[in-house]
């Protein structure tokens, strides 16, 4: 086997990647002919490219390679990788903002997300709301739980009204 330049990004060829889920529910796969019991996935650009440039790493978090685009993979690999990304980057998408209440120094958000209803609370807005660009908003809870509003202008009127006071 030829040795690879360790300073070169190893972009994986889609046909050399086969990902699946083990019996115990753990994400695993065969990459470039080598089988891995457990794999960890990282988004290189969690905000900019959610389905591209996925770094696949072994348990020691050494990079095995990068999947350039989820779409290039075969369907089982794609579905499992998508699922794993969703587990690892737990970022529910907000479908509706029920209410934003401010009590002394706690802001409480009641949200409907694509993973169910939830409530997040933050000590202030200026440290817990991120605007990565466009109309996206990332909300971070005091405990590190995060929710994403992918386009706040596309939400319903009620939600926009709630948001207009805090943006």
């Amino acid at each position: 086997m030829e040795t690879k330049d360790p300073y070169e990004i190893n972009i994986l060829q889609p046909e050399s990647v086969s990902l699946c889920r083990g019996a115990g529910g753990v994400f695993q796969g065969v990459i470039e002919g080598k089988s891995y019991d457990e794999l960890v996935v990282f988004r290189a650009f969690p905000f900019l490219y959610t389905t591209k440039y996925i770094s696949i790493r072994n348990l020691k978090e050494d990079e095995v390679g990068i999947v350039r685009d989820l779409e290039e993979l075969d369907s089982e690999s794609r579905i499992e990788l998508e699922k794993e990304l969703q587990f690892r980057y737990f970022l529910p998408k907000v479908l509706r903002v029920d209410s934003i209440k401010s009590k002394t120094d706690l802001w409480i958000w009641e949200l409907q997300t694509h993973l169910g209803p939830t409530r997040i609370s933050m000590r202030n807005l200026h440290e817990h709301m991120q605007f990565p660009g466009g109309n996206r908003i990332i909300l971070t809870d005091t405990n590190g739980k995060r929710c994403e509003i992918s386009d706040w202008k596309a939400l319903d009127g009620h939600s926009r009204k709630q948001l207009s006071d805090v943006i």
């Binding site: 019996a23 115990g24 970022l91 993973l115 609370s121 000590r123 440290e127 405990n143 006071d165």
Partner: protein, 728 residues
């Protein structure tokens, strides 16, 4: 204080014995929100949903258990001979709960000593509202009320009770005196001008007007002076307290925030609070008093007309209650946009060299423009709202005046009321308008002050991450033995930078820390200084746990020379004597001499009195470095920390600094990080860190013969210096 949710009775009764541990997760296996329970027993582990057991495993199948943390959540995994198994998933707030569960399962599976749950392992919740409590506090911010914030603010006014009392008395008097002129008008109209009475009290009444004017202006002056005095004092106290709170906080607090924001906080937030406490409260009290007095007089003059004039009042009250939250939010928006602008300016000015070097002035300008536009927009929104509210209030109140004019006018025409009474009523009503407008001003002040107070108290209430022990061990001069025992630490708890590091360092030993950037070298050093506390494990100096030594005592024993040499605004002399202000000139010179700094300092036109720092003389990187070495020497520490002390200087300067350092390290326990491995040749032992773990320990020669991680680093650097054409 509830630590953990109690296992539902419905599940409890289905268990044969009391569980070792039970914990509620907030996610289903497919990642959607929903409750599940993890129950750990002696023999088996099970997961329950809606009081039904959905899966179960025998613990003896497990070889290990661990949590794998993602972003915003994580997974609890058990390792078995047949591969890993996902037990459940959770969101980030429960990381510590399941981290403990994993440790417990691993201990049970391996038959090791079981961990004991400490309160620190679990997220705290307010027993009343189920909101998570901010780390380290006992009071729930949600269940705290505005009243308490105001009360706490008022504590600052306490030392000035007397002055504020005098101001209040003045205020009462002014208010009462103010009410006299309209009454004099009434007398003037009804008794002098109306009857055309020439015998005449005219002179006396005019004199009365004059006297009230005089008394009023004198009292206003005195009150104003007291206000300024108390206000400035208050402001000074507040600023002092905020600064004190900032200094007390640990480094971890500042790591997470941009420092430029605090400059604004210290000044503008304390100003907002001051304004509320002096002007705000005095005005509020005064105006309330005035309103009550005016109503009493008006009712006495003609109660029916007064009731008429009051008709629009409920509308005003209603409108102001609607506006109050809106104004508060808009103020916060305005504050946030100004805050962003300040941060932007701070950032780009600090990095002005980089901006200029890359020719990015235009980008910075356009970034600024964007933020500036935001400020302008928010300013218009809040001020616009403000300007709109003001006339609206006058209009509504004005309708009251119209009613009085109309019905009062009829009464006068029908001779049911004297002209004087009508005029007095109208003047009084006009005076009422003032306080009512002030209500909105008060709202403004109060909301600004409350949000400012919130932010200020947030800083004051943030507990230090490295609290001093209540009963610290008294530390004299230490020998300098340093022991790391299974130390794990992460700047964010679920993301450890150092993992299970153990190291035994004898007094006087020099340890070189080596590794790639991000391997944990600086963290290692930060932990010795106790800038942070370990998450797990402990560090001992001379056998005493760092946490039991007061921070001032530790820092007395430790000297640091950092990569980024920071000299304070002041003279070189002051900078060298920073940690020992009572040092004699000889001591300072001796230290400078050892640091190879004496010669260049003396050659400077102002010698040791040369001003350095932001506004002073520009020293070169190497010169600054040597001054900071002198600073460490005069401190005479038992433990010395050198963090890349010779980075970014030329070879000759490096040699001089090296020389200085080799004199400095003699007889002291030293931890050195160096980019150039050659500078660590003198080290007794080298510790190679890799991804937060110790990979190798040994002397330069030993590690070279091992051909391990260190060997690779050396080879890589040789390679590099070949390219650069300088010695390795």
């Amino acid at each position: 204080m509830s630590i953990l949710d109690k296992l539902p009775e419905a599940i409890r009764i289905q268990l044969p014995e009391a569980p070792l541990f039970s914990g509620k997760t907030d996610l289903h296996d497919d990642g959607t929100f929903g409750e599940q329970w993890l129950v750990i027993m002696e023999e088996e582990v099970s997961v329950w949903r809606l009081n039904q057991k959905i899966s179960t495993w025998k613990i003896d199948q497990f070889t290990d258990a661990r949590i794998v943390n993602g972003i915003g959540g994580g997974t609890l995994i058990a390792d078995t001979k047949n591969g890993p198994i996902v037990l459940l998933r959770y969101t980030a707030s429960l990381t510590s709960v399941f981290g403990f569960a994993a440790k417990l399962m691993a201990a049970v599976a391996k038959g090791e000593e079981r961990p004991v749950a400490s309160e620190k392992e679990f997220p705290l919740q307010c027993p009343k509202c189920r909101q998570p409590l901010p780390e380290g506090t006992q009071t729930c911010p949600n269940c705290r009320n505005n009243g308490k914030v105001i009360g706490r603010m008022l504590q600052y006014a306490k030392p000035y009770k007397l002055q504020m009392g005098i101001a209040a008395v003045m205020l009462v008097l002014t208010t009462l005196v103010e009410l006299v002129p309209p009454y004099l008008t009434k007398i003037m109209l009804d008794d002098v001008l109306g009857p055309k009475d020439l015998s005449s009290n005219l002179l006396w009444i005019v004199l009365g007007f004059g006297a009230t004017m005089l008394v009023m202006s004198v009292m206003q002056t005195v009150r104003g002076l007291i206000g300024v005095w108390v206000g400035s004092k208050l402001m000074g106290d507040l600023r002092g307290d905020i600064y004190k709170a900032l200094m007390r906080l640990s480094l971890a607090f500042f790591d997470r925030r941009q420092t430029s924001q605090f400059i604004g906080r210290v000044n503008s937030d304390s100003e907002a609070m001051r304004q509320f406490m002096t002007d705000g409260i005095i005005w509020c009290a005064g105006e309330t008093l005035r309103v009550i007095a005016i109503f009493t007089i008006m009712f006495n003059l003609d109660w029916r007309l007064t009731l008429l004039a009051m008709l629009p009042m409920p509308i005003m009250v209603f409108v102001s209650t609607k506006l109050w939250p809106m104004i508060g939010r808009r103020w916060y928006q305005q504050w946030r946009s100004i805050f962003r602008l300040n941060v932007l300016v701070g950032d780009s000015l600090q990095g002005i060299r980089v901006v200029k070097a890359f020719g990015q002035e235009k980008t910075e300008m356009s970034r600024y423009e964007g933020a500036n536009r935001d400020v302008v927009r928010n300013n218009i929104r809040i001020e616009g709202l403000w300007q709109g509210v003001f006339p609206l209030f006058s209009l509504v109140a004005g309708t009251g005046t119209l009613l009085i004019w109309y019905y009062g006018g009829w009464s006068v025409l029908r001779s049911e009321m004297s002209l004087g009474v009508l005029m007095a009523l109208i003047t009084y009503l006009g005076m009422l308008l003032g306080p009512l407008q002030w209500i909105s001003q008060m709202i403004n002040w109060a909301s600004q002050a409350l949000s400012a107070a919130d932010r200020v108290f947030e800083i004051m209430d943030t507990p230090s991450d490295v609290p001093d022990s209540l009963d610290p061990v008294v530390l004299d001069r230490v020998k300098g033995d340093v022991v790391f025992h299974n130390v794990t630490y992460g700047y964010e708890k679920h993301h450890p930078v150092l993992k299970q590091v153990s190291l035994n360092v004898k007094a006087g030993e020099m340890i070189g820390l080596v590794g790639h950037s991000g391997a944990g070298k600086s963290t290692f050093i930060n932990l010795i200084c106790r800038f942070y506390d370990t998450d797990e494990g402990s560090i001992h100096i001379d056998g005493i746990d760092l946490r039991n030594i007061s921070q001032t005592d530790i820092r007395k024993q430790i000297g640091v020379v950092l990569q980024e040499t920071f000299l304070f605004d002041g003279t070189i002399w002051e900078n060298i004597a920073y940690s020992k202000p009572d040092a004699t000139p000889e001591e300072v010179m001796r230290a400078a001499k050892i640091a190879n700094a004496h010669d260049f300092i003396v050659r400077l036109p102002d010698g040791y009195d040369t001003r350095v720092g932001e506004r002073g003389h520009k020293l070169s990187g190497g010169e600054k470095q040597r001054v900071s070495i002198a600073r460490a020497i005069i401190h005479d520490p038992r433990i010395l920390i050198l963090d890349e002390a010779t980075a970014s200087v030329d070879t000759e300067t490096e040699r001089q600094i090296q020389e200085a350092i080799s004199r400095l390290v003699k007889g002291r326990t030293t931890f050195a990080i160096a980019h150039r491995l050659s500078t660590l040749r003198n080290a007794d032992r080298l510790v190679v860190l890799e991804r937060g773990k110790i990979a190798e320990v040994g002397t330069h020669e030993e590690l070279l013969t091992q051909q391990g991680a260190y060997f690779k680093l050396v080879e890589a650097q040789k390679e590099l210096s070949k390219i650069k054409g300088v010695e390795g």
